[in-house]
């Protein structure tokens, strides 16, 4: 079904591509918002990626690689959004926490807050890596493919990025203790 839609879209069928868009837009938006940490920019990136996919669909050689290809376009769109200084300055002035879903289904509140702080300190490139590997649970080779990086680079970057997240967890955990010790 999915492959059939992709093949029809590749042949120029707008309705088929609209159907693909309907299937994928929610997940793409979720990825973009995790990477960009901003709802408006995530909307912009999602839209840019999907429109680019439509325009460039004839470049796709293997219909079975449609999802990976689309995610690659999305990650690039996210990078472009993140690089827009003017937009970034506006966002900095309007920083707001991303609203949470239902309370506490699996992660303790304290850990969630620390992860939030640690995650927000990562660069968009690092967040893309984390989102692809941990949120989409893609294997390393597919993450590398989407990011356009050698797998070795992806592994070492992921290693360092998770180190930073771990560090944020523990560093934030110990600061109140240390400061209580000073009081």
């Amino acid at each position: 079904m999915h492959r059939d839609l992709v093949e029809r879209a590749m042949a120029g069928d707008r309705e088929a591509f609209t159907e693909l868009t309907r299937h994928s837009i929610g997940r793409l938006y979720a990825i973009a918002r995790l990477i960009l940490r901003d709802t408006e920019r995530a909307e912009d990136a999602t839209q840019e990626a999907l429109v680019a996919a439509w325009k460039q669909l004839s470049a796709l050689r293997d219909p079975d690689r449609f999802d990976a290809w689309l995610r690659r376009l999305l990650v690039r769109a996210c990078y472009r959004e993140a690089a827009r200084d003017q937009h970034q300055r506006r966002i900095v002035a309007q920083i707001r926490p991303i609203e949470m879903g239902m309370p506490d289904p699996g992660v303790a509140l304290a850990d969630r807050d620390q992860l939030e702080r640690g995650f927000s300190r990562l660069s968009p490139e690092q967040r893309a890596l984390v989102v692809l590997h941990y949120y989409l649970e893609l294997p390393m080779h597919e993450t590398a493919e989407i990011l356009g990086l050698p797998i070795g680079t992806v592994k070492s970057r992921l290693f360092r990025t998770t180190q930073q997240l771990r560090a944020a967890l523990e560093a934030d955990a110990r600061l109140p203790l240390a400061e209580r010790g000073q009081a």
Binding site: A108, R121, I151, S156, R166, R174, L177
Partner: protein
């Protein structure tokens, strides 16, 4: 040399919570409307049609004329290099960093490869490069060999190479292992102890570096980590305590004898080290809970059999990451966190001299282990072989500091790599 603790699952669960359930209202209509108005580009106009999605470049055969030109170019560069090398060098002395350290080459990792910095130069040079990921460069005690972990994304191998680069790295493990949890070379460099999953339990395996057959130690106790005692006849191994929030520490004879329980450590083990004479252990317990709700890590010292255990400080709330034996075993460097700064306290164990206190660095971000980079949040000091100083590495905003073990004075040392240094560490 990893510390699996469910952190990966924590990130995945948290991202699942954080991700929006669906796109904002109106976005789908906006996108589909724009698609309706957008003309597709013809396939021949798109560069990506001619580029593979795979990221590894594949090269075809090089034309003969190009090969000749490249060869001539290389020859010209070699002749130039020889001519430059014949000039008197103005950098014959050891650079300050490595003078402080003692001597020897310095290894580090960068983007999945291993680099080496010679004492006489300042820029790291490639030592091991491959399409796979090289991690955890670790020297044998005699400084003759470098061991490291090679990951291909699915499996891992332990590799060994001559520290002077005179031979090709070779794999120690007979077959790639799905996961390596911990590994360390023996004091005499003849074995590597490897901890990793084997079926439903954890295997504790001794791998000879000469390529002969490895053997599992018959513990059947699912050890999670192991280090060597200095005489190489025992390992100190840890496992999760069953039904309790903590770890059990065992002495495991390397001849296959039964493990002996040393101590139960409440909360778990954050750091463990054996004194150079093998008579005592120093360790830091793990925090009882993340999030500031439990007891912070505490540094302890005990006899090797677990007796006479006592804390090294009397602090209540300070976060003590570890206690590190000086090369002669007369002092312990205890790292604590005070108001967001790292404090190194060097404690003389004979009680004679006063402790040396050094407020080393302000914490502004993640830290890694200066020994092997494994513990992300901790700065583990590396003692210089002569015992006169310690080295600290900060990963975020990379910085390398040297702490004078006598005065506590802190100096920044030049280090151009983005990763922590691993010394060859020959004795001075």
């Amino acid at each position: 040399m990893s510390n699996p603790d469910g952190f990966d699952r924590l990130i995945t669960t948290w991202l699942d919570e954080l991700a929006p359930m669906r796109e904002p209202d109106g976005l789908l209509e906006t996108v589909t409307g724009q698609i309706q108005r957008t003309r597709r580009l013809p396939g021949w106009a798109l560069l990506e049609r001619w580029l593979p999605m795979q990221t590894r470049a594949k090269f075809g055969a090089i034309p003969r004329t190009a090969m000749i030109l490249v060869t001539l170019g290389i020859l010209a560069m070699l002749l130039t290099a020889v001519a430059i090398g014949a000039q008197p060098s103005s950098k014959s002395d050891l650079a300050p960093l490595f003078g402080t350290a003692g001597n020897g080459r310095v290894f580090s990792t960068q983007d999945g490869d291993i680099y080496v910095t010679d004492p006489g130069s300042s820029a790291p040079q490639p030592f091991v490069t491959s399409s796979q990921t090289e991690l955890y460069p670790t020297m044998t005690n005699d400084g003759s060999h470098l061991l490291f972990q090679r990951d291909d994304g699915n499996t891992s191998q332990i590799m060994i190479a001559a520290a002077d680069g005179s031979d090709e790295p070779r794999a120690l493990t007979p077959a790639a292992i799905a996961s390596l949890d911990d590994w360390w070379p023996s004091p005499d460099g003849s074995y590597v102890v490897v901890v990793g999953p084997s079926g439903a339990t954890q295997d504790l395996r001794l791998v000879p570096v000469d390529g002969s057959l490895s053997r599992s130690l018959p513990t059947d106790m699912s050890m999670t980590g192991a280090i060597w005692e200095p005489d190489g006849r025992h390992l100190l191994a840890t496992r999760d305590a069953v039904g309790r929030n903590g770890a059990e520490l065992y002495r495991v004879p390397t001849d296959g004898g039964d493990p002996i329980l040393v101590r139960y450590l409440s909360g778990g083990v954050k750091w463990l080290g054996v004194s150079p004479d093998g008579k005592r252990i120093a360790y830091a317990t793990s925090p009882d809970a993340l999030g500031g709700n439990g007891r912070p890590p505490q540094a302890w010292v005990a006899n090797i059999d677990g007796s006479d255990a006592h804390r090294l400080t009397d602090s209540v709330n300070q976060w003590e990451d570890g206690a590190f034996w000086s090369p002669d075993g007369t002092r312990l460097a205890v790292t604590t966190w005070v108001g967001g700064s790292l404090r190194v306290t060097i404690l003389p164990l004979d009680g004679g001299a006063a402790p040396v206190v050094s407020d080393a660095m302000r914490v502004s971000g993640p830290m890694v282990n200066s020994n092997d980079g494994n513990t992300a949040t901790t700065i583990y000091p590396t003692w210089a072989p002569n015992g006169r100083s310690l080295l600290l590495w900060r990963a975020s905003d990379p910085q390398l500091l040297s702490v004078d073990a006598t005065t506590g004075a802190v100096t920044e040392v030049p280090w151009s790599s983005a990763d922590w240094p691993v010394w060859q560490r020959r004795a001075p």
